[in-house]
């Protein structure tokens, strides 16, 4: 009988790729291919496109806009363009009396949006009774700050951007949410609140993330701010949500 793999116990303590074998000095072929698979999933997520038709079916009344970045390559090279709404898109966003707008943005992982955005929007909407919510906005070649142009054009008091996070080798479909009070071009990142790591492989659940977001949105409206000041007030939250917000 072969002796027990001494690494088995240690692997319970870390996701790191420990105790791999060797082929001479190199990694074994199965480990090389496993790594390549994870990297390929991450790269595919970066370069994937949103399935707009599917999102529009799931989100009735949604409006589609895009940033000034033309294509993925320019998006990756020029973050500044991904933060600005293309001029021709402003007319699709008529000003209204809105408390909030939800923006569904591709960011660095369209895969994350396709997997998680719709159930997340549904979970949040259930918790926002009494809010005047603008039609959802689907944004492509979008960075977080694109929500500032969108929120400002609509005249919304709050903008929540649900965006695909930079894929890692372990998880390539993680969604983040960035909430901004009084969104307008030039808002500093320190004036936003972020909920990250929303996915179904051991990440934050839709329920928990939606609870946090709804709490943040109500408090942001009541206090008239988002960012560091609001994060400190999140001490009022329960243990799990608080911990997730801190991370």
């Amino acid at each position: 009988m072969p002796p027990e793999d001494p690494w088995e116990q240690l692997r319970l303590a870390t996701r790191a790729r420990i105790g791999l074998g060797r082929a001479g000095d190199a990694m074994k072929v199965e480990d090389v291919l496993d790594f390549q698979f994870a990297h390929a999933m991450a790269r595919d997520a970066v370069h994937a496109k949103l399935d707009i038709a599917r999102l529009k079916t799931a989100l009735p009344g949604a409006v589609c806009v895009h940033s000034e970045a033309e294509g993925r390559e320019q998006y990756l090279r020029r973050p500044d363009l991904g933060r600005r709404l293309a001029p021709e898109c402003f007319e699709q966003l008529p000003r209204g009396e809105y408390d909030a707008v939800l923006v569904i943005a591709d960011g660095l992982s369209a895969t994350a949006v396709m997997h998680n955005a719709v159930p997340m929007v549904e979970a949040v909407m259930e918790r926002l009774s009494g809010f005047r919510i603008a039609p959802p906005v689907i944004a492509t070649q979008a960075r977080v700050a694109l929500g500032d142009d969108i929120g400002e054009a609509l005249g919304a008091k709050l903008c929540a951007v649900l965006i695909g996070e930079r894929p890692g080798l372990t998880v390539s479909d993680s969604l983040g949410v960035y909430l901004t009070y009084n969104p307008k071009r030039g808002t500093l990142d320190s004036a936003r609140n972020c909920i990250s790591n929303i996915h179904t492989h051991g990440g934050l659940s839709y329920t928990t993330a939606a609870d946090m977001l709804a709490w943040l949105m109500r408090e942001a409206l009541r206090r008239g701010l988002t960012g560091v000041g609001l994060k400190e007030a999140s001490g009022l939250l329960g243990g799990e949500t608080q911990a997730a917000l801190a991370g």
Partner: protein
Amino acid sequence: MRNFAHGFRGETYRFADLKTVLARASARRSGDELAGLAASSDAERVAARVVLADLPLKIFLEQPLIPYEEDEVTRLICDTHDAAAFAPVSHMTVGQFRDWLLSYEADSAMLAALAPGLTPEMVAAVSKLMRNQDLIAVARKCVVVKKFRNTVGLPGRLSSRLQPNHPTDDLKGIAASTLDGLLYGSGDAVIGINPATDNVQNCLRLLGMLDELRQRYEIPTQTCVLTHVTNAIEVMQAGGAVDLVFQSIAGSQKANEGFGVTLSVLREAQDAALSLKRGTIGSDVMYFETGQGAALSADAHWGLDQQTIETRAYAVARAFKPLLVNTVVGFIGPEYLYDGKQIIRAGLEDHFCAKLLGVPMGCDVCYTNHAEADQDDMDTLMTLLTAAGVSFVIAVPGADDVMLNYQSLAYHDILYLRSVFNARPAPEFEVWLEKMDMVDRAGRMKLPTPSNAVLQRLIGDSRNAA
């Protein structure tokens, strides 16, 4: 006022000032394009190099690129310049300097004596006239040896930082990744953790674990938790086991303020670490990280191209006698270094420039998932850097950093590099590996089988670490 212009085939290329010549002469990279500083065509880029090659080296002493009055890094560079050391090359143009660096006359001793006479701007300038092979050939001649509990940077040696990061700083998980790395002979530069939670209490906890591990096995190396320098000062006041003080630095005062540091706070931390007298064979107690793009991302680049302002960070490093410095070359993302070609060039530039200035440069050979790069590019860069005599490289289990979510080198890669170049670990660490019965008769790291006695013992210990 000097006229920066060059005519070629009826076209005249004009450049507004010295920093524009440098920026336009830089190899193409996305960060300079993002900043609006890059050459607008390949011909303009080469024209800028032709202009640069004819400029006297002295011009960089006469025309500071960032005003002396407004920037403490400029003041540091000017005030510590050693005119006597500069004398042998003071009459040269940048182009002549490039040829001289490659000449047989410019040997290791000459280059070491010259280092205090060079400024970052001179070094960045000459690097723009050098092909990749030139950057390798000259860097290889620059010997920068540093000591704490072992000796890093000797010719024929390659050290590595063992980076056992964990997403929740779990002690058992960190111990497991550390043990794994030691079995590949990694860890002679430092065993260094990037903490997931960066506060004083957590640093004390992590440092305590690393120090206990190091002492139990009498490992002749140094440990580090890469926390902010102001935290490190508090940790030392609380009696924490700080071998090395870590800090990220950049090439302008404003960029350093973005990192929350000044030269005086670095001095304070260095003094505190020196007073602990933890080094056994040397007192090089500082560890810095740098990387092209940091200044631009903090809007603190003063209109300088990203490679020139990066090189100014090495003047900051040099002032504090560091044991280790590394560029985190591919970490910053494709808006600064777009693809494998740009990352490879930047890695070689950073290493060359630092070594020529007398800084013990290592490299985190790495990339993120949104860059146009993969393991093949990392193979190329690590191989070239080892040919260039890099002081150390960073390694993690299976090339996958599960805390910072990017790809660095694998522990396996250290075996490959040492094998291909016949490069050995730091001498004190090499003796320890032999003592631990981890090396076979051919000098290779033994393949730890499950029944291996050393492995059994180490694993038993790391299970109990927490």
